[in-house]
């Protein structure tokens, strides 16, 4: 007599095997799926942690040189403000023309559609400078607009010489960008990159500040 010839033995073996295999098949796949899901979650969290750490490092690095950040921030605000900034633009252009010794008329629209709605917003000012401006000065003006503190694009210009002098006009678009900005990416080279962009820009005036400049209070504002 041998156990291998025992039917009871084989029936019990098969039942046991079936129970083990079936319960294994029921338990293992979901566990394996969880394992794989967790692997993915860990990879995502690791990437997120790296990103956040990079972000924090960048913020901490900037904290060491907050003065430079403030300077660049002011330059960025001037270059592409959130509102039309017509008054500031006029003062900037006034300063530029004075420096080039150009006597010309500056035409800057004071009110434009500056809504957040990108579909209807113009987000640009059509500026024109007109006057008796000779070729060399007109050339200098066009050249300076390229590095002007307020970003702009030339729309057109005309330099015409007549017997009485020059009739020159330079038309350009000065931009502004309302709305929220995307979150900082954590780029550790942000200061260098921003300096590359903004340091070449030239401002021809300072922002008017009624708290520190000017004298106020007149008994008769109709007479000097």
């Amino acid at each position: 007599m041998t156990i291998l010839k025992n039917t009871y033995f084989w029936v019990m073996t098969l039942i046991l095997l079936a129970v083990v295999v079936l319960s294994g098949l029921r338990i293992i796949p979901p566990m394996y799926a969880t394992y794989q899901e967790n692997q993915q979650t860990i990879a995502d969290r690791k990437a997120e942690l790296d990103k956040q750490q990079k972000f924090l490092d960048a913020v901490n690095a900037v904290k060491q040189d907050e003065a430079s950040l403030n300077d660049l921030y002011t330059q960025a605000q001037t270059a592409l403000p959130i509102s039309n900034g017509s008054e500031s633009l006029m003062l900037q252009l006034d300063g530029l023309l004075k420096e080039l010794a150009i006597d010309a008329t500056i035409d800057v629209p004071l009110a434009v559609d500056n809504t957040d709605d990108q579909a209807t917003a113009q987000n640009q000012l059509e500026v024109s400078i007109n006057g008796d401006i000779g070729y060399n000065k007109a050339r200098s003006l066009i050249s300076r607009l390229k590095t002007f503190a307020r970003w702009n694009k030339i729309k057109g210009f005309s330099i015409a010489k007549s017997t009485t002098g020059f009739t020159t006009s330079v038309n350009f678009l000065a931009y502004f960008k309302p709305g929220r900005v995307p979150e900082f990416s954590g780029d550790s080279n942000i200061m260098d990159k921003a300096a590359q962009v903004f340091d070449s820009l030239r401002s021809y005036t300072t922002v008017p500040d009624s708290t520190t400049e000017g004298t106020y209070g007149r008994s008769n504002p109709f007479s000097l």
């Binding site: 904290k63 921030y73 015409a160």
Partner: protein, 180 residues
């Protein structure tokens, strides 16, 4: 070699051998289906604690970042503006176009007007107006400017003769298209 063992012992050996095989298979299957889930369960537990660890580190960093909100806002603004430069800042050098026109002007030609019609198009077109004492120099002007690497074409709009008391002169109007 002859196997002199009695058949009964031989048969017992065979049975033992088969029983051994069955036992091994048994253990193997049991190990696979019992130890497998145990191992996976342990892995999952370790993974969950790793995830919690990452979560707490991320949360700590976010708290630290949140403490510098003003700085973050400035950095966000700065980054956005720095990335907007190509879109909003003039990329063309119009003075180099003027230089091309000036360097192509022959001696007798006097330019009286230069006009850029539309700076927003891909290939800017300039209208150049002027006068000269002879037609030849005007043609030379057009040929010379056409040879510039940054010019894609130059065509006359008008070339007219002007009779004055001082003598004959010629006026012209030419459209010059620049490459970009």
């Amino acid at each position: 070699m002859l196997n002199l063992l009695p058949p009964e012992i031989k048969s017992r050996h065979k049975v033992r051998s088969k029983l051994y095989g069955v036992t091994v298979a048994y253990i193997f299957i049991a190990a696979l289906f019992v130890l497998g889930p145990i191992a996976l369960g342990t892995y999952n537990y370790i993974q969950n604690s790793q995830i919690s660890d990452y979560d707490s580190q991320i949360s700590q960093i976010k708290t630290q970042i949140g403490q510098s909100k003003g700085l973050n806002d400035k950095l966000s603004f700065l980054e956005d503006r720095a990335q907007s430069a190509t879109q909003y800042q003039e990329q063309r050098s119009y003075t180099s176009y003027l230089s091309t026109i000036a360097s192509s002007t022959p001696s007798p030609v006097l330019v009286t007007g230069v006009q850029l019609e539309d700076g927003t198009v891909a290939t800017p077109v300039f209208t150049v107006k002027g006068t000269s004492t002879d037609r030849r120099s005007i043609i030379l002007f057009k040929d010379k400017i056409s040879q510039s690497t940054d010019v894609t074409g130059a065509v006359f709009d008008a070339l007219t003769e002007i009779l004055e008391e001082s003598g004959k002169s010629f006026s012209f109007s030419m459209k010059v298209t620049f490459a970009k």
